[in-house]
């Protein structure tokens, strides 16, 4: 393995900025223009899973597990 490949690009030129080390970057965007829709979708899927699992655990597995304490 060549020395160039074994080094990570971040340590190779620590004195230069990330943009300088990556001159083929075409466009810079502001933070609000960055829209990680995939991450948002995953978050919503995880959220739905947690909500459904909670409903199942609490209302079906726990509250539906008769006999229960009634007094």
């Amino acid at each position: 393995m060549s020395d160039e490949l074994s080094q990570s690009p971040d340590t190779a030129g620590a004195d230069r900025s990330w943009e300088e080390r990556n001159p083929d970057i075409e466009r810079e965007i502001t933070i609000d223009e960055f829209q990680p829709k995939g991450t948002l979708t995953l978050t919503l899927i995880y959220f739905a899973i947690v909500v459904l699992m909670w409903i199942f655990m609490y209302f079906v597995e726990f509250a539906g597990n008769a006999p229960s304490i009634i007094d």
Binding site: I31, D32, W54, A63, A66, P67, I69, I70
Partner: protein, 172 residues
């Protein structure tokens, strides 16, 4: 500090989740009338013989014109009295109130596979009421470490149809 709007969104979402969890628990205890064991009474663990625990077992009582049952149980190292040597026999579809205490150390009284579960604490009476909806056998296990044979400490509740309930085993 500037926070990205997506990040703001899922921070808010996590607060919504916490509020939802609390709301379901409140709903359970208010609207669905779920119950947990609370304080009932204290007792002198050295002098159980002068109390109903001195003659533990199933008693029949009449309350508000209905036949109900009271079950007094002692949890000792390493058995349920009654429960281990002979099963606790009770009829289905009647209110049953358990009174459980321990003369020696901390034990658990867990009716396996149900929501009936309590600690039994020397000096405290654990009380709960339930209705067994079907005739079947339930296992009781001790779920608080109580000594070297803790893992052997188990018992049985035998829920029988009302027509087959043998009242000769009731205690006075």
């Amino acid at each position: 500090m500037h926070i990205h709007k997506f990040e703001q969104f899922w921070i808010k979402l996590s607060y919504v989740l916490i509020a939802f969890f609390i709301a379901t628990v409140v709903y359970g205890f208010v609207a669905m009338d779920l119950k947990v064991i609370g304080d009932h009474a204290t007792i002198d663990p050295q002098n159980l013989q002068d109390t109903p625990f001195g003659n533990p077992g199933v008693r029949e009582i009449t309350k508000n014109g209905e036949t109900e049952y009271e079950v007094y149980v002692q949890t000792v190292q390493f058995s349920f009295v009654p429960g281990t040597a002979q099963p606790i026999e009770i009829p289905a579809n009647h209110r049953v109130t358990f009174y459980i205490t321990s003369p020696d150390v901390l034990h658990g009284f867990d009716v396996a596979g149900t929501n009936l579960n309590t600690m039994t604490i020397p000096g405290q009476i654990s009380k709960f009421t339930t209705i067994f909806p079907e005739a079947r056998e339930y296992g009781i296990v001790c779920n608080e470490y109580c000594g070297p044979a803790h893992h052997m400490m188990e018992g049985k509740i035998n829920v029988v149809p009302e027509s087959e309930f043998d009242k000769s085993n009731l205690v006075e």
